[in-house]
């Protein structure tokens, strides 16, 4: 197991180096540069040139890349060109915000997705199956920004049940400990604020969960259908086990490998791709951080930010691979 893990982690290195080359090239080849953002639209060309020099952007590209990589290998993600703050420091709250949101929406997506899929497979070819798959189809096709705005209109503006945006009531001042607000409020032991944080989490988490929920539901359905035909399931039924036990204990466990794969991929995707949800619910997360950096041409932030997201993506999927062994003892990564 240890050797496998090490090998997988080493494989990460070339992937990430390739990643840095691609992002570096892409951000540098789009027109406009950070010196212009900093100098403002009204600055003279001389001033823009001066700032470009200060930032080291007048250097040839390969030298800029070598320097960036040099710092990176020493564990330095660099400073933001626009705010001049170290990215390591800047990124923590954004990353925490996004992870919190993604975890919440994946919880929703997995619970509903898996159950919807099971239900659909169990009542195969019935009106229920049809209905459940329509829901899944809607989940994939509804534009997230539209759903988000509708949620806000219904639950915040019309019914006034839930707050429309943000991570917490702005009137509450909380010094963050871990930057995961749910964890922080528990650590502070303030249930009232915890409830407030949870209320803020509900609408964006639902909006973000629809796509993965739908994908999980469809995979669960097809995987379940396959396993349900297996002999041992029939045997279990014949033994007189309750339907619930047969489905959740015997069938689901064996059907879960492809579902887990999809869960891993979706979690990874959401980590960097929640930009629409984050924008509509003004959730100060990674997606928006990167989006702003791209529109300001903040090269280092784009490069390092994408690197962080990519690393997380790979790690989540590695975790999934490791979880396979827990689900299915036949899967082993050690060579015998």
């Amino acid at each position: 197991m240890g050797a496998y893990l090490l090998r997988r982690l080493l494989q990460l290195v070339p992937v990430l180096i390739g990643m840095t080359i691609v992002t570096f090239a892409v951000v540098h080849f789009i027109p406009g540069d950070p010196a212009q953002t900093i100098a403002g639209e009204k600055a003279t060309p001389e001033r823009v040139e001066e700032i470009r020099k200060e930032l080291g952007l007048d250097q040839p590209l390969y030298r800029q890349y070598v320097q960036y990589m040099g710092n990176l290998l020493q564990g330095d993600l660099g400073d933001s060109l626009v705010t001049n703050r170290p990215i390591v420091e800047e990124v923590v709250p954004y990353l925490a915000a996004t992870i919190e949101l993604v975890v919440a929406s994946m919880l929703i997506a997995v619970f509903w997705g898996v159950n919807l899929g099971i239900f659909s497979a169990w009542r195969h070819h019935s009106a229920w199956d049809f209905f459940a798959m329509i829901i899944a189809l809607l989940g994939i096709s509804i534009p997230v920004f539209w759903l988000g705005l509708m949620e806000q209109w219904l639950f915040a503006q019309t019914l006034d049940w839930l707050p429309s945006n943000g991570r917490m009531d702005p009137r509450i001042g909380m010094e963050p400990i871990t930057h995961f607000y749910v964890v922080d409020t528990i650590l502070y032991g303030d249930l009232e604020v915890l409830w407030d944080v949870l209320k803020h989490l509900i609408l964006p988490a639902i909006a973000l969960s629809t796509v993965p929920m739908a994908i999980i539901a469809r995979i669960t359905r097809s995987s379940m259908l396959e396993v349900m035909r297996a002999d041992y399931v029939r045997t279990a039924k014949a033994k007189g086990l309750s339907e619930f036990t047969v489905i959740y204990k015997h069938t689901l466990k064996n059907a879960f490998i492809p579902i887990l794969t999809v869960i891993g991929l979706q979690t990874g995707t959401l980590l960097g791709g929640a930009v629409l949800t984050e924008t509509i619910f003004s959730w100060p997360g990674m997606g928006r951080y990167l989006y702003t950096a791209i529109s300001e041409r903040d090269y280092t932030v784009v490069q390092s930010g994408i690197l962080i997201v990519a690393t997380l993506f790979v790690l989540v999927n590695l975790l999934v691979d490791l979880l396979y062994t827990c689900l299915d003892p036949r899967i082993q990564y050690e060579r015998k």
Binding site: I30, P31, Q157, D190
Partner: protein, 538 residues
């Protein structure tokens, strides 16, 4: 059994770790009492050191924390005293003496005096100054005072303290908009103690003399400022605390206002303004637009160098319909390059009538029928142009009727700037937000020949009229108001005759707030004095 023990012990460990973190952490949760205003806006500030930034969102906050020597009046761009109680200038406009307000303190207790003013100016203008550093870069200073100390055109020769409360400025040449420049938010006076301590960190921990001091900044989320108990203006600020909340999506921000999560918001879709006016729980504030949206002709290219062609296009733009279709009537048609409430606006000039027949005739006479041109337009909404692409399509229809074929070309904002400023376009939709309320800031920047450059040109019509240039230079270096007024009127008359642009509109900026808000005056510069705002719940 062993397994269960393991599980239990790991839970206990986890609990211990948590308690350790909690006990080590000195932070707390505070639930606020007192009056509060939540201001919703599209983006966060970049830095809170006003000398380092150029974006309105940063200034929106620094204006609450810092005061300037002089300031604009509540509803126009005339100058009134602020940290300087009064001032005088020599007849040639090269020497200025400012008498400062006494008994003013920075938020950190440092006394405000002439030394503090001198320190700030030296930090901004002298590249060799030990604190000539900051989080980002000094940008507005070189823009407004023509470079730094030692540069050939630099305006300020020296700043000295005559006594504790008197400061003297000596200029290398008179500068017409000198006072207007000093009133701009980037020239807010900061505490020398705090700046000397760490000029870079000053952008995170700003210290000024303003009505509010910074309490907390959650990046990309919100900035909280709280009342400065020792503020020199007695009875202000009216509200204990202001929260600047970033809500990037316009529609979501409007929903937040309607559901009561925020009290005041800017950056509205013009079409939402109608809803606000109908809603008894809300009120609409209209900020006079110190801006202009225009269609620029690239006069370096054919046939745009042909005066008759430019006149024809001017006759082919229906500004009235433009305003009703795309601005929800929140704009006024532009005749000149800057709005009527500013100094020296030439109200004798009449606009070219919308007359497609005449336009068509002019095009035919010039033998330009069937000409094909590229019309550049930005993708992103700007305050002066909510939907550039739609406007371009609208213009295209009418241009077709007079025999001019137009292909619309569009880019994302940063790319767009790059392309247009290097003169790639034939015609381009563009605009300008004024900085200091002075006509120089419009005419010189947008239409003077020195600003028609190969790269990064701010004069994107590439209009190079020597007579206009002479008038503008003269107006720039005159302090006498009436003289300047005349010079600008003359310049506008020439520009109106030569038509380097089609001036489209001056857009009114809609701002929405709860009906219970009092004391909010949206200033034409876009800088708001929120210290006068209060919420009166009935």
């Amino acid at each position: 059994m062993e397994k269960r023990l393991m599980r239990w012990s790991s839970w206990v460990m986890l609990f211990l770790c948590f308690s350790l973190i909690v006990s080590c952490h000195s932070g707390s949760i505070q639930k606020d009492q007192g009056s509060m205003l939540i201001y919703g806006r599209g983006a966060d500030a970049k830095s809170l050191d006003p000398s380092q930034v150029t974006d309105g969102e940063s200034f929106r906050v620094t204006q609450m924390i810092f005061d300037t020597l002089v300031e604009y009046k509540d509803q126009n761009t005339e100058i009134q005293p602020c940290l300087a109680e009064k001032w005088e200038s020599s007849p040639d406009g090269k020497e200025w003496i400012f008498y400062l307000r006494k008994n003013v303190k920075f938020h950190d207790g440092t006394p405000f005096n002439a030394e503090a003013v001198v320190f700030n100016f030296k930090r901004w203008m002298d590249r060799e100054h030990p604190q000539h550093k900051g989080a980002i870069a000094f940008t507005y200073y070189p823009d407004m005072f023509a470079g730094f100390k030692g540069d050939p055109n630099h305006v300020i020769q020296s700043v000295t303290a005559i006594d504790e409360y008197t400061v003297k400025f000596v200029l290398n040449r008179p500068l017409g908009p000198f006072l207007a420049n000093l009133a701009m938010p980037p020239f807010g006076i900061g505490s020398p103690t705090a700046i000397k301590k760490d000029p870079v960190q000053f952008g995170e921990k700003p210290v000024g003399t303003g009505p509010y001091k910074l309490r907390e900044w959650k990046k990309n989320d919100m900035i909280t400022v709280e009342r400065n108990e020792d503020y020199w203006k007695k009875g202000f600020p009216k509200t204990d605390k202001i929260i600047f909340k970033s809500i990037p999506d316009n529609a979501a921000r409007f929903t937040a206002l309607k559901s009561g999560d925020i009290d005041l918001m800017d950056g509205m879709n013009p079409s939402d303004a109608i809803q606000v006016e109908k809603d008894p729980k809300l009120q609409l504030f209209k900020q006079q637009g110190m801006n202009v949206a225009y269609l620029a002709f690239n006069m370096r290219k054919k046939p745009l160098d042909h005066p008759q062609f430019r006149l024809a296009i001017n006759h082919a733009v229906d500004k009235k319909r433009l305003i009703s279709n795309f601005y929800a009537n929140l704009a006024e048609p532009a005749v000149n390059p800057y709005p009527p409430f500013m100094l020296g606006y030439n109200d004798e000039l009449k606009d070219h009538s919308f007359d497609l027949g005449k336009a068509k005739r002019l095009i035919e006479e010039a033998g330009l029928k069937g000409v094909k041109l590229k019309l550049y337009t930005p993708q992103d909404p700007r305050p002066y142009m909510p939907n550039g692409k739609k406007i371009a399509e609208f213009l295209k229809e009418d241009f077709k009727k007079i025999g001019v074929q137009v292909e619309i070309v569009t880019f994302e904002w940063k790319t767009y700037l790059d392309k247009v400023k290097s003169g790639e376009h034939d015609m381009a939709l563009f605009g300008w937000n004024g900085d200091n309320g002075d006509p120089d800031n419009f005419l010189y920047v947008l239409l003077d020949k020195t600003n028609a450059r190969e790269q990064n040109s701010s004069n994107i019509a590439f209009y190079t009229n020597e007579e206009v240039h002479q008038l503008l230079i003269k107006a720039q270096s005159t302090v006498d108001r009436t003289k300047r007024e005349q010079l600008y009127r003359q310049a506008q008359a020439i520009i109106k005759k030569e038509n380097p642009w089609v001036p489209l509109v001056h857009a009114t900026v809609p701002i929405a707030g709860k009906a219970s808000i009092r004391g909010f005056y949206p200033h034409p510069t876009g800088g708001y004095k929120l210290d006068q705002v209060e919420i009166i719940e009935k």
